[in-house]
C-alpha cells in the first residue's frame, strides 16, 4: 500500500435476497414485512430533496398512507436539478423488437460501469425500468411518439439496442413534472407537507437510528427541527466540488456529507463522470458549464490541428479553422479508435481531448478546447437534415458563444457531469445508519465506475417509485413510531446547537476572501489532480494542499450580511465547508485505488496504448469510507463485489 496512514476496518456485506439473480427481487418482496394499512399514517417519513428520486418517493409513500414531509432548497420542488436532464431515460421495453431484454440492460449497465457495481441492485433496476415508462405515460408525460401514436426510442452510448425514451431535449423536465404533479396531488390531499426553501444541515440519531433532521429555513435563517421514523436522502450528486460542472448551482454534498459525519459510510467518492462535449470555459468569471448533448457525436467529427505551431496560430486568431487543410487536421478519435471513432464512451473521449490539449494542440483562446465539426455532415446530409437533428443545440451554442456552428466548428471541452459515488447503501437502499436511506444520485449503488447515458433518470425513478415503497415497510414494520414532540429532546437540542454554533463561527471569521474564491480554488485543484487523469504524485500533493485550504477557509472567509434571513453567501459557505472535506476523501479514495476503471484513470495503470487497466483481483470492491472525527483519517471498509452472472472482461472500443 502506497499510503502509509490508511486505516482499514471490517469488510461490509449488503443483505442479499435468496435465489438466482432474476428472482431475487420477487423473493425479497414475497418475504418483506409490511406495515398494516391502518398503522401507516402513524409513521412519518422525512424526504430530503424533491428531484426525480425524492418527488417520486414522497408521492408513492403518501399514496400508501405514510405521513410525509418533503424538503427542498429551491422555492419550488419542480426546480430540482433533475429538471435539466436532456437526453432520455432507458427502459428494457423492447418496443423496437431489436433484442432488448432485462438481462441485456442489466449486462450493459454492469459492463458500462466497468464491473464495479453490485449485480443484485443493477438487475432490480433493469427489472423495474419497464414499469417506470408505464407509470410516466399514465401521468401524462409527453414522450416522443411516431405517427402511429406509439412511443419512439433513440440510441445512446454503450448499448447496441434502441431503448432510450425521450421528450425532445427536455426529458428530465417532463419526468420531473410528472413526479412533482404526483407529489402535489398528495400535498392537496394533506398527506405530504411541503417545506420549500429549506436546507438540511444535520441528521439527528437516537440510539444510532435516524430519527430526525435539522433544517435551515433559507427565507428566515431560522433553524428548524423535524422528527420522523425514517429519513430519505434524495439530495443529488456532488459534482460541484469541482466548482465548475454541468450541475445546477445549488447542487451540493452537504446533506450527504453531514450524514457521513453522523455514521453513514461514503462509497467510491472518486468515481466521477466527465462529459466530453461541453461548452468550454470562456473566462475566470465562469460560473457553470453547459452540456451539449452526446447525440452530437453521431454526426460531428472531433479534431485539432496536427501541429503545435498551427494550433498556436489558431489560438492567436491568425488562422481560421475552416482555412486549415484536411491534411493538417488530426481527427484523433477516428485515428485511434477506428471501430467506434467519434462514438467512443464518455470517459475515453474526454481523456483524449485532454491529451491533445496537453500536447499544446488545443484551440480557442485558452487552448482548452477541441473542434466538433459538422461541415462534413452538412455536405453529406444537407443543411436541412442537420438542422432538423440539431437546430436547438446549435441555437443554444450560438446564444452562449456568439458563434454559428453551421459556419464554424463548435469548440468543446470535457466537464464534470455526474458522480457515481455517494452514500453506501445495501439492497434496501439503507445506509449504514439504520432508518437513513439514500436514493438517486446521492447513493452509489448502480453505476459502478461509469454511468451510461440515460440511466440516472431511470435509477432515480426506480428508487423512488418502485424500490423504497417496499423496502421501507420492511424496516418500519419492526419500529415503534416516534413521538413528534421529540424535537425538544436532547439529541435534537444538541444537534441544533451544533449547527447554530457553526453558522456563528463562519459569520464571525470576517476574513478577506470570498466564498467563491475558496470554492474556485478548491475546484481548480480537484480538476487538476482528481479530474480526468490522476497520478500518485498528484494525489499525494493535493492531499497536503486541501487541509491547508480548509484551514485557511475557517480563518479567512468573508461572509457578508447576517445569518437572519436570505443570504446566498452563507448558504454557499456551509456547502463549501463540506466540499473542502469531501475533496480530500475523493483524493484519498483515488490514491488507494491503484487501478484504472471507468471514470477513474490512474496514469500508472494503463495498457501500452494508453487504455484503462483494471485490476480485478485486488480492486473488485466498493470502497466505503467511515468518518472518524478527523477528515484526514477515514477508515476504509470494503464490500467485495461478487460476479456470479457476468464474466469480467476488458472493455475495448478499438
Amino acid at each position: 500500500m502506497t499510503i502509509s496512514n490508511l486505516k482499514e476496518g471490517a469488510d461490509l456485506k449488503g443483505v442479499q435476497p435468496d435465489g438466482p439473480l432474476a428472482q431475487k427481487w420477487d423473493s425479497y418482496k414475497a418475504k418483506a414485512k409490511v406495515v398494516n394499512p391502518a398503522n401507516k399514517r402513524k409513521y412519518t417519513v422525512l424526504v430530503i430533496g424533491t428531484g426525480l428520486a425524492g418527488a417520486s418517493a414522497a408521492a408513492s409513500l403518501a399514496e400508501l398512507g405514510y405521513k410525509v414531509k418533503a424538503f427542498c432548497i429551491q422555492d419550488s420542488p419542480r426546480r430540482a436539478h433533475s429538471i435539466a436532464a436532456q437526453g432520455g431515460i432507458n427502459a428494457a421495453k423492447n418496443y423496437q423488437n431489436d433484442g432488448d431484454s432485462i438481462w441485456r440492460l442489466f449486462y450493459d449497465t454492469i459492463k458500462g460501469g466497468d464491473y464495479r457495481s453490485r449485480e443484485s441492485n443493477v438487475h432490480r433496476l433493469a427489472q423495474v425500468s419497464v414499469s417506470i415508462i408505464d407509470q410516466c405515460v399514465a401521468q401524462g408525460v409527453p414522450f416522443a411518439r411516431d405517427y402511429g401514436g406509439l412511443l419512439s426510442n433513440r440510441s445512446f452510448g454503450g448499448s447496441l439496442v434502441s431503448r432510450t425514451f425521450y421528450a425532445r431535449g427536455q426529458t428530465g423536465q417532463q419526468l420531473l413534472l410528472g413526479a412533482y404533479g404526483a407529489m402535489m396531488r398528495q400535498v392537496d390531499a394533506g398527506k405530504v407537507e411541503l417545506l420549500t426553501h429549506r436546507e438540511m444541515l444535520d441528521l439527528v440519531t437516537v440510539d444510532g437510528q435516524a430519527k430526525g433532521v435539522i433544517i435551515r429555513n433559507l427565507k428566515t435563517g431560522e433553524m428548524e427541527s423535524y422528527a420522523g421514523d425514517a429519513v430519505l436522502l434524495c439530495t443529488g450528486g456532488y459534482g460541484n466540488v469541482y466548482y465548475l460542472s454541468t450541475n445546477a448551482m445549488n447542487s451540493n454534498v452537504t446533506a450527504a456529507w453531514r450524514c457521513h459525519r453522523r455514521g453513514a459510510y461514503f462509497a467510491n467518492p472518486c468515481f466521477t463522470q466527465i462529459h466530453p462535449t461541453c461548452i468550454p470555459v470562456s473566462g475566470d468569471y465562469q460560473s457553470k458549464l453547459t452540456l451539449m448533448s452526446e447525440s452530437l457525436r453521431n454526426d460531428g467529427r472531433v479534431w485539432v490541428p496536427k501541429t503545435q505551431e498551427l494550433a498556436a496560430r489558431v489560438r492567436k486568431g491568425e488562422v481560421k479553422p475552416s482555412d486549415i487543410a484536411e491534411e493538417d487536421r488530426d481527427y484523433y478519435l477516428e485515428r485511434r479508435y477506428p471501430t467506434f471513432g467519434n462514438l467512443v464512451p464518455r470517459d475515453v473521449a474526454s481523456r483524449n481531448a485532454k491529451y491533445v490539449c496537453d500536447e499544446g494542440r488545443g484551440v480557442g483562446e485558452s487552448g482548452l478546447a477541441v473542434y466538433l465539426d459538422f461541415a462534413e455532415a452538412i455536405n453529406r446530409l444537407g443543411m436541412s437534415v442537420v438542422k432538423d437533428r440539431y437546430d436547438n443545440l446549435f441555437e443554444m451554442y450560438e446564444r452562449i458563444t456568439g458563434e454559428n456552428p453551421y459556419h464554424t466548428p463548435m469548440r468543446i471541452f470535457p466537464a464534470v457531469h455526474y458522480t457515481m459515488g455517494g452514500l453506501w447503501v445495501d439492497y434496501n437502499l439503507m445506509t449504514t445508519v439504520p432508518g437513513l436511506y439514500a436514493l438517486g444520485e446521492a447513493n452509489f449503488s448502480d453505476h459502478g465506475a461509469n454511468r451510461l447515458g440515460a440511466s440516472a433518470l431511470m435509477q432515480g425513478l426506480a428508487d423512488g417509485y418502485f424500490v423504497i415503497p417496499y423496502t421501507i415497510g420492511d424496516y418500519l414494520a419492526g419500529a415503534k413510531p416516534v413521538d413528534i414532540k421529540d424535537t425538544d429532546s436532547a439529541p435534537f437540542r444538541e444537534a441544533r446547537a451544533g449547527i447554530e454554533a457553526q453558522v456563528q463561527k463562519l459569520m464571525n471569521v470576517k476574513g478577506t476572501k470570498t466564498v467563491t474564491e475558496f470554492h474556485r480554488e478548491l475546484g481548480l485543484k480537484m480538476w487538476d489532480y482528481v479530474g480526468m487523469s490522476r497520478s500518485e504524485a498528484g494525489l499525494k500533493q493535493i492531499l497536503t494542499e486541501i487541509p491547508k485550504l480548509r484551514e485557511e477557509f475557517w480563518q479567512n472567509v468573508r461572509i457578508p450580511g447576517t445569518e437572519n434571513g436570505w443570504n446566498k453567501n452563507l448558504e454557499f459557505a456551509l456547502r463549501v465547508a463540506d466540499f473542502l472535506e469531501l475533496g480530500e476523501l475523493m483524493a484519498r479514495d483515488a490514491l488507494v485505488r491503484e487501478e484504472s476503471c471507468g471514470g477513474h484513470f490512474r496514469e500508472e495503470y494503463q495498457t501500452e496504448d494508453g487504455e484503462a487497466l483494471r485490476n480485478d483481483e485486488k480492486y473488485a470492491y466498493a470502497a466505503a469510507w467511515e468518518f472518524t472525527g478527523n477528515p484526514s483519517e477515514p477508515v476504509l471498509h470494503k464490500e467485495q463485489l461478487e460476479f456470479e452472472n457476468v464474466q469480467l472482461a476488458q472493455r475495448s472500443y478499438k
Partner: protein, 255 residues
C-alpha cells in the same frame, strides 16, 4: 475581446416589508462573453470585497430550464433577447456605456423576499389543485396500450415546456397567471390521460389562481412576448373554452 463599462440601476429591498429603492452601481471591464448573471456575480464579488452587501438574486441551473431566475431588465421580463431566460442572456446584447435597470418580478402574488428574489410558491398551490393526472404508483397499464397521435403529442409537449418562471405574470399589466395555468390545462386537454379529470381540473385551478391574487387576462399578449419557452396564448383560449364547458356542465363555477 471587447470590454464594456456599464451603469447598473438595481432594486434593493432588505426584506418583504422593508421599503425598496433603486441604487446605482458602476461596473467596469464587463466581457461580452459573460452571461447576465455572471455579470451580477462579478458585481457581487466586488461589493463583498468593499465590505458591502451583495445584491441577492435567484438562480439555479443557469441553462434556462429550471425557471428559478428572472429579472426585469430595462423594463422587460428576462431582458431584450426573445425566447431567452435571464440566465441565458449574454452581455453581447449590450454595449459599452449602457445603463441597465434591473428589477424583480412585480406582482401582489409574488412578494419580494429580498432585493431581486421573489416568492412564487403561489404557483405550486395552483398546481396542487389539479396540475396532474391522478394515478397511483403501480396502477398503470402498458405504456403503448393507448396510442396518441403525434400531432396531439406534440401539442401537449409544446404546452408542457413551461418552466414556471413567472415572466408571464411580471409582464402582464394585470399580473395575471393565465398563461401559466392554461399551459397545464392544455397539456392535459390534448392527452387522453387528462380527460377523466378535465372539468374538475380547470375549475379548481382557475379558482385557486383567483384566490392567490393574480389578476384577470384582458388579452394584452405581453405574456407570450416575454415567455422564454414560447408558450402560445392559444392556450388561454383553450383554458377559457374548457372552463366554460366545465362550468356549464357542473352548473357552477365552483366545485
Amino acid at each position: 475581446m471587447s470590454k464594456m463599462n456599464l451603469t447598473l440601476k438595481i432594486w434593493r429591498q432588505a426584506s418583504a416589508n422593508a421599503p425598496g429603492a433603486m441604487e446605482t452601481y458602476p461596473l467596469a471591464d464587463v466581457s461580452e462573453h459573460m452571461s447576465f448573471l455572471e455579470m451580477l456575480d462579478v458585481l457581487n464579488e466586488k461589493l463583498i470585497k468593499e465590505g458591502k452587501e451583495p445584491v441577492e438574486f435567484d438562480y439555479d441551473c443557469r441553462e434556462g430550464i429550471c425557471g428559478t431566475c428572472g429579472l426585469v431588465i430595462n423594463g422587460v421580463a428576462h431582458g431584450p433577447r426573445k425566447l431567452t431566460a435571464t440566465c441565458q442572456l449574454h452581455m453581447r446584447e449590450f454595449k459599452n456605456g449602457d445603463t441597465i435597470t434591473i428589477e424583480p418580478w412585480r406582482a401582489n402574488a409574488f412578494p419580494v423576499i429580498k432585493d431581486l428574489v421573489v416568492d412564487r410558491t403561489a404557483f405550486d398551490r395552483i398546481v396542487a389543485k389539479g396540475g396532474y393526472v391522478s394515478v397511483n404508483t403501480g396502477s398503470a397499464r402498458d405504456a403503448n396500450e393507448t396510442p396518441i397521435g403525434k400531432e396531439d403529442a406534440d401539442k401537449a409537449f409544446d404546452a408542457a415546456t413551461c418552466i414556471s418562471c413567472g415572466a408571464c405574470v411580471a409582464a402582464c399589466p394585470n399580473a395575471s397567471a393565465s398563461l401559466f395555468v392554461s399551459a397545464k390545462v392544455s397539456q392535459y386537454t390534448y392527452l387522453p390521460q387528462g380527460h377523466p379529470e378535465r372539468e374538475r381540473r380547470v375549475l379548481k385551478m382557475v379558482s385557486q389562481m383567483d384566490d392567490e391574487g393574480f389578476g384577470n387576462c384582458s388579452n394584452h399578449g405581453e405574456c407570450e412576448a416575454v415567455c422564454p419557452k414560447g408558450i402560445s396564448i392559444q392556450n388561454i383560449a383553450i383554458m377559457r373554452r374548457e372552463y366554460v364547458k366545465a362550468a356549464l356542465k357542473t352548473g357552477s363555477a365552483i366545485v
